[in-house]
Symmetry: C2
């Protein structure tokens, strides 16, 4: 039955599909379904109320034509795009390469898309902000230090913003981060069992926020045990950097017996310099610690005592926070700190006795 009208339907579908490169619009669907454009809009919008019959008609027509709403047009009027901007530096990407993908996953989990802005020098040009606004992004995750004027621009344009493992240079902004201080405190509590005498700290580049947080945490914790850091050396967060530091530092007469590194990569390089370049034994001659818990750190070849930075937690928390701000259900601006997990391994001495 309906064979006459069915044939007719097919004809109309084909007629509308004639120009294959052209995209099907809500207008086409409306015409085929015999309803208004608004009806089509309502069936595809989130909270649109349509009768079941209309919805069925629209869905059938849309199906036949392969229709999907044009996000750009929608975005122009709603001023929302389902786009979340992620600002990331080469630094972050090199040290935490998984972050970008994980953010993408988390962003997509609730129907949004990730628009990536790679920025240099941890600073953000005004041009980037124009693009952010120009694409109508719904929110921003910044793994870069935001200049005060950009913070203010976000506020003025009401673009929700969450900082990822960063603190704003000025003003206040919502942020997620790792509780470096508490983590370092746990680590130091463990280290004192190995009776450290000379302690060195291998930091990241000068001004690197995360490194300085970790250094401050270590210092504070050591003081509580009546200990101090004898020396702070800056390197570039890399394995090679750590190894170069080690070759110098551990070759000295009065070399440290305990080296805390601001991240795992440098710690691994330093370990290798001790063993392969200088013939020292870890942890007997020098104990070494890192921060991050890279996969390599758990390998038997290195077995590095470190603190696991809760990257997945940070990522999930960042996106959740951002979504609350977008939805308007957030309580307000806040900084959320996630705990680092101490991983005691073979690169540090166990308490004697």
């Amino acid at each position: 039955m309906h064979s006459q009208s069915e044939a007719d339907w097919e004809d109309r579908v084909d007629a509308l599909l004639g120009d294959s490169a052209r995209r099907v619009t809500s207008y086409d669907v409306a015409k085929l379904a015999g309803v208004s454009q608004s009806a089509v809009s309502r069936t595809f919008r989130d909270g649109g109320s349509v009768s079941p019959e209309t919805r069925a008609k629209v869905e059938r027509a849309a199906q036949a034509l392969g229709y999907a709403p044009n996000i750009v047009a929608r975005s122009l009027i709603t001023r929302r795009s389902n786009l979340i901007a992620v600002l990331v530096t080469a630094q972050t990407s090199r040290n935490y390469p998984e972050v970008l993908f994980q953010l993408g996953q988390e962003i997509q989990a609730r129907g949004n898309r990730m628009l990536v802005f790679t920025v240099d020098f941890d600073a953000l040009a005004a041009e980037v902000f124009n693009d952010l606004a120009g694409y109508h992004v719904d929110g921003i995750v910044a793994a870069t230090s935001m200049e005060p004027d950009l913070l203010e621009a976000c506020e003025r344009h009401r673009i929700p913003l969450v900082l990822y493992n960063r603190v704003p240079r000025g003003g206040f902004a919502s942020a997620v981060g790792c509780d470096h201080a508490t983590g370092m405190s746990d680590l130091v509590d463990h280290l004192v069992g190995g009776t450290p005498r000379r302690v060195a700290f291998v930091a990241g580049p000068k001004g690197a926020v995360v490194s300085e947080d970790r250094l401050a945490g270590a210092r504070q914790a050591l003081v509580r045990h009546g200990l101090a850091i004898d020396e702070v050396i800056h390197a570039d967060y890399s394995y090679d950097g750590g190894r170069a530091v080690g070759r110098d530092l551990l070759a000295r007469k009065k070399r440290p017996d305990t080296v805390l590194c601001a991240n795992d990569a440098m710690a691994l390089g330093l370990m290798d310099s001790a063993r392969f370049d200088l013939g020292l034994s870890v942890p007997a001659d020098v104990q070494v610690t890192g921060f991050d818990d890279l996969p390599e750190s758990a390998w038997p070849s290195h077995d590095l005592t470190t603190l696991r930075q809760p990257v997945e937690m940070l990522t999930r928390a960042a996106i959740r926070m951002l979504e609350e701000h977008i939805a308007g259900t957030a309580i307000g601006s806040e900084r959320r700190l996630m705990p680092a997990e101490l991983k005691i391994r073979g690169s540090t001495r166990r308490p004697a006795g």
Copy 2:
């Protein structure tokens, strides 16, 4: 001079800026500059021809108001967005975490932005395609196997597409990839110097395209030397997977003296199983090779002979190709293969004599 009109100008700027949350439009700029909207459009468009005077007036007004064109509105009419979609799987991201960021860098280098689509199972739901089209993306880089119908959809909608280290499941598409076969041939040429007797190959998951390419290349090269692969074992591309394989494979009575691994991660795991789990020596008891050249592979602790996959070259070539297709200057569809670089290190035996 002009103090009267200057004061007036300031007033008009302030008036237009009154509602701070509202975005400045080309209409506002036109009004302030005393020109038409079209003039504003032409000064900000790429090939717009405007007189220097008009341009100056517009630029001054735009500057004063902090105007930047609304990309969404522009995109709606031009059907271009300066957006390049990157399709990536968890697999790819895990094995080549730097790719995503590098693609972002390369895409931005010429004024575009990267829109990321994380997809599961190396396959691409129709929903993703709708989004691609809905955002008016100018082109697609897919590090995922594309189903034939999606290839066809891209073609029909004239969305340029470049596959990244993949071959299409059906049909033809522009692609960049690593020349695994030639790389493996170089590697095998080196290996025969160490007089291999029993050769095993540790592959990635069944169906993993890259792994199968590498296996085929190894096989072919070995045959030329009158050798064969005695056994192929599948693992999951991971360090732990490689280590588990090693524990089993290398504990056998008739264990291989040469193990080629489809990637470095597995090779490193296998090496560690040999040395730490079984007390074997590398390369004396068993020589091991990888593919990719991870940073860890060059560390003295492992010193793995491997092939460097030219990730940066692939990334740059992919974006360049895509941009040629977008600009319409591409010659046509083609597959471009980049050479892998042999890195001979300590995990393989040197030719005797």
